[in-house]
Symmetry: C2
Subunit: 646 residues, 2 copies
């Protein structure tokens, strides 16, 4: 079923202006900064305690366990980002630091393989007694992810052996066999991680354990409920209305029909299901993925790719409930949606999944990091009034400026690991096809049935729709070069060596199948007009409004360019748009201008709340849109993605 | 300064269809039902424990204190409603029950006058140690209010003497003198109650204590903070962002400029300030009232008269922040706004206050009770999607059906006491003027310099704008009959004995000043067209929308008449309105119909969230509006007050 896989990241190099700068930022700023954070050396930031905990667990330092129960995972996510960074940018000093850190992790490992610093420090007798709330299996998952990445990037097995040690410990305790625990992760990630470990090692027991975690989830009697009973308690998450839905455990996975509960957990689970479905060729499980995908993407996703509309439980609510100002839209959830999307594409070769991935990546994911790589959003709102964030409890979770670091620091290292592995999202390979799913400039090799073809890609995407691909070296001449034609693109041209070609389009990919020669050049031109987008009228919050998009980018109005009181602004759907390149603005963006209107607020006395209706009087107002991801990198103020139309 | 006062309610009789039925409902349904509730005899309802607590405090029953710390106040509010009911409808059996209940209260009173069942039962050594959270002075206030009402209605002093005993106890412990406590109520009401007691007894010490409570509030060192320190704690309310603002105690009263904190507390305080300002002729204090009034009414009040836009703290947030779907809008807060408004009118003779009172009373107050008098709203939303109330934590406080009874039962008895004293809100007197502030049919007497004039009023208001007033008997012939001309009314006519007259208008009241004869008849005709009302564009939630009003009534769209998906509906400001009398509907209402439009939701695939903008396609849709107060008395469903306009 699954014969599509990401390209090998060692030797792949992203070097375009857009993503090249992001990857360099992660390498040169984010990774060193996060290392300082993990070591509690950032002044004014909540300490992480992460390295401290490992040192205590390893017997190198005195002290208690500190920080969140899932604190170990921050180090693993950092190591994963380091691994992917080393893959494209060898750095001996950083690799030594990583190796030493892996040694530290190894030093904390228990004789039976167990490795969670919280229980090593606080008492191993309580391990695996609160899978629902504590994150031992979540940390296991991130450890595997990092270890596999480190192995792929450096060829070193040490970290993977540590991880396999912990997996073996878990495998000996959990499973369908009598006497084993019938539990599964309270926060998913181990499922997809185990499949990744299976793929790299070929050892079936890892896949079997992943499948067990997927299939056991939500079965009766409910494991989490049994755990609670042992502690004399009853309710699910927070004693509230979400209950076990919060954990995607209210129903067995195969019976689930709606994206529910904590949104990061949800998309991590769905990624794991997609992986297990592919490796076990389980059609029912794959249908489950499609059903959940459709509900999530068609009825519960913001136009930015943000998901999770409620701060309560950082969770999904119900179909079409997508408030722009009280949204959660956690950065990690958009990242998790990318995980899920890439896997669904790999299972189907359908571009619709990559369309969503591109939407999330260019909007809801990178909105989570400031342009200097030093500040991060947890919550990615589509509409902000700073005063409301201060004074309205329903919006207190929404920040109008990115924050330095978080006590619960899941998002920043997640951004680092997805951006430093970007090539895997852009380019995939099968035995006879190279897939260009995202338009990312640089060089990469695809392995087609054991033969390596190398390509270079030149583009100024997303500012421009021209993408040039050159076959630099070819071990295999006959193959398909498949190009995703984005759903947003109504009109495109392809030339090979200057001559127009047609190709074959299948589920959104244009397949160029021929005998290639070294030096062959593909020139793709995606027509990229400014588009006005409307929302389904079932989405109450967006009614009467529109969004400006160009290519994959969602645009927004910010107070810095347009003044405040953005609710009074009106887009004129009949007015044209002007795209202006601004190399000096916000790291270099295209802004979009249009002749709009605005209600003259000064025509209404501030102390008259209500009066007889009169048709509104509008004044001309030039509107300046900037890419959503770049908002609040200047003076903070109001922002809105959805704008009222005339 | 204050020479306007409400009419004497004994002998006043409201008998029109609208309010007469409400008062009869309170008398025949609400008062008996609430008595059962106070005695824990309502099946399926949270027990009140109120009578139980009094019986335990009086030594008549064993047991502990149960229920909220302010549970005593429910009995006082019930007794106040009983008093006002007895004033217009003598009922020997009910009066015996009230007298016995007053004896029970007296039996619980301590030798020094103290009377709060919580501390009598749980330990008097802790009394007055937590004014901030516990409600001893709040219960005192409601006791006084009820006792004064009972004295006015029945002439019996027993209850007032009990109340004065408790006041004397408090007066001996609180005040500016050395050695006395420098505290004040954590929940205001005693301030206005004490002024009422002063007015009826003439005893200055009650006024002085009220003034002390007003002036001491928010002074440094902050009393509540000192209390907290003694318990080793720090934060104000709920440890959250509201802090001491929640209690209107973050600043001294005279320095306050914005309506802040818990909205019921706020308007109860402001009513007390207005009373103290009037009785002490304190111009600075009166300016404080005007400032707070202006902020509250011009920038923080819903069109229904609901106040308190946030469920968090049941509180005000910031200027123009008036979300329709997450609103709190507690019934008690709208009632408290009526208290404040009536006092401001009495201090100024300015109709603008009574305009707000009428708005709140006909909309946000009576929306709190079902048409059968058996179910109540705490929260009065202006927009409801039932699914959101179930699944969105931000709207969990919003109910789409009124509830039977509440554990914290402040609202139902508050509705009962304001409705049963309605005459005092409708008619006021001064030494030479009768004020008709609300258009309520029935008979009443005004006392003008000791002489009693009796009038009868006939009207079908609010369904019709004609009001006929007849001078039934006159002890004094020369006086002014002052009629409020509502701000909503652009066009009216007045006749006396069939002949058109002009009169003099001063601050919204039309003064008819002449020598009257018995049998003289005034005929007022208020032109009452359907009006479309818009909100200040600074109110973000209402932009692009309008409200249908007729006379004092705010109308709404309900799913029962219009189907769901109300966000797709469009009002056409150019379409006419049809007013249709429906005697059988919702207790007899006028519905309003208009030719509107609606987006054809079926033209958009439910699984396509976003697509290229196209001008919306509308279908014709007849819209049927019902009075807001009457919503959800049929099959529950969606409801909206603000409707998008074309
Ligand atoms: Zn996160
Ligand atoms: Zn209430």
């Amino acid at each position: 079923m699954n014969n599509v896989r990401p390209i090998d990241l060692t030797g792949a190099r992203v070097s375009d202006k857009f993503w090249g700068e992001y990857m360099e930022l992660v390498r040169s700023q984010v990774i060193p900064y996060q290392w300082e954070a993990l070591n509690d050396r950032i002044e004014g930031a909540t300490p992480s305690h992460c390295i401290h905990n490992f040192r205590v667990a390893a017997g190198l330092e005195e002290g208690g366990f500190q920080g969140f129960v899932f604190q170990d995972s921050d180090l693993y996510k950092w190591l994963e980002a380091v691994a992917w960074s080393l893959a494209w940018h060898p750095d001996a000093k950083l690799e030594v630091l990583a190796d030493e850190t892996i040694d530290l992790i190894g030093a904390a490992q228990q004789p039976d393989g167990y490795l969670d610093t919280k229980y090593i420090i606080d008492g191993l007798e309580n391990r695996f007694t609160d899978l629902m709330n504590n994150h031992e299996l979540y940390c296991l998952g991130h450890m595997i992810e990092a270890a596999v990445a480190y192995y792929k990037a450096t060829g070193k097995r040490r970290f993977m052996d540590i991880a396999i040690g912990y997996v073996d410990c878990v495998d000996s305790l959990f499973g369908p066999e009598e006497g084993k625990l019938k539990g599964y992760p309270g926060h998913e990630v181990a499922e997809m991680a185990l499949v990744g470990l299976y793929k790299v090692t070929g050892e079936e027991r890892f896949l079997k354990l992943a499948k067990y975690f997927v299939d056991q989830r939500g079965q009766s009697p409910l494991y989490f409920e049994e755990e609670l009973k042992k502690r004399g308690r009853q309710n699910g998450w927070n004693g509230g209305t979400l209950g076990f839905q919060y954990y995607q455990a209210a129903l067995p996975v195969r019976e689930q029909t709606e994206a529910q509960g904590h949104s990061v957990r949800a998309v991590y689970l769905y990624s794991g299901i997609a992986d297990v479905a592919a490796q076990t060729e389980d059609a029912q499980l794959f249908e489950t993925c499609e059903r959940l995908w459709n509900n999530l993407v068609n009825r519960r996703m913001y136009i930015t790719g943000a998901i999770g509309s409620s701060a309560y439980g950082e969770a999904f609510t119900f179909d079409y409930d997508l408030p722009n100002d009280t949204v959660y839209g956690e950065t990690c959830a958009a990242i998790g949606l990318c995980f899920f999307a890439r896997r669904m594409f790999e299972n189907t070769k359908d571009a619709k999944y990559m369309d969503v991935l591109e939407r999330a990546l260019y909007n809801g994911v990178i909105s989570g990091m400031s342009l200097d790589g030093r500040k991060f959003f947890y919550v990615n709102p589509l509409e902000v009034l700073p005063e409301a964030c201060e004074k309205d409890q329903n919006k207190r979770h929404v920040k109008y400026e990115r924050q330095k670091w978080f006590g619960c620091a899941c998002c920043p290292p997640n951004v680092a690991r997805i951006l430093s592995s970007l090539g895997a999202y852009a380019y995939q390979e099968s035995d006879d096809t190279v897939f260009m799913s995202l338009f990312v400039g640089g060089t990469f090799s695809a392995c087609l049935g054991g033969m390596h073809n190398r390509f270079s890609v030149t583009t100024d995407y997303p500012w421009d729709g021209t993408v040039k691909v050159k076959a630099e070296s070819l071990e295999r001449a006959e193959f398909s070069y498949a190009i995703r034609i984005p759903a947003w693109c109504a009109d495109y041209q392809v030339k090979i060596n200057g001559e127009a070609v047609e190709g074959t389009v299948d589920r959104g990919y244009l397949y160029l199948n021929r005998t290639w020669s070294e030096g062959d050049e593909i020139e793709l031109t995606l027509n990229m007009p400014v588009e006005l987008i409307a929302a389904n009228p079932r989405i109450r919050e967006d009614i009467g409004k529109a969004v400006v998009m160009r290519g994959p980018l969602v645009y927004c109005l910010e107070e810095a360019d347009n003044g405040g009181q953005l609710q009074t602004v009106r887009l004129d759907p009949r007015a044209g748009f002007e795209v202006i390149r601004k190399p000096e603005l916000l790291g270099g963006v295209n802004v979009i201008k249009t002749a709009g209107k605005a209600i003259d607020i000064n025509a209404w006395d501030p102390d008259t709340p209500y009066r007889r209706y009169e048709a509104p009087v509008y004044k001309e107002r030039e509107l300046t849109f900037i890419p959503y991801y770049s908002w609040t990198n200047r003076t903070p103020g109001e922002m809105t993605v959805w704008v009222h139309t005339l």
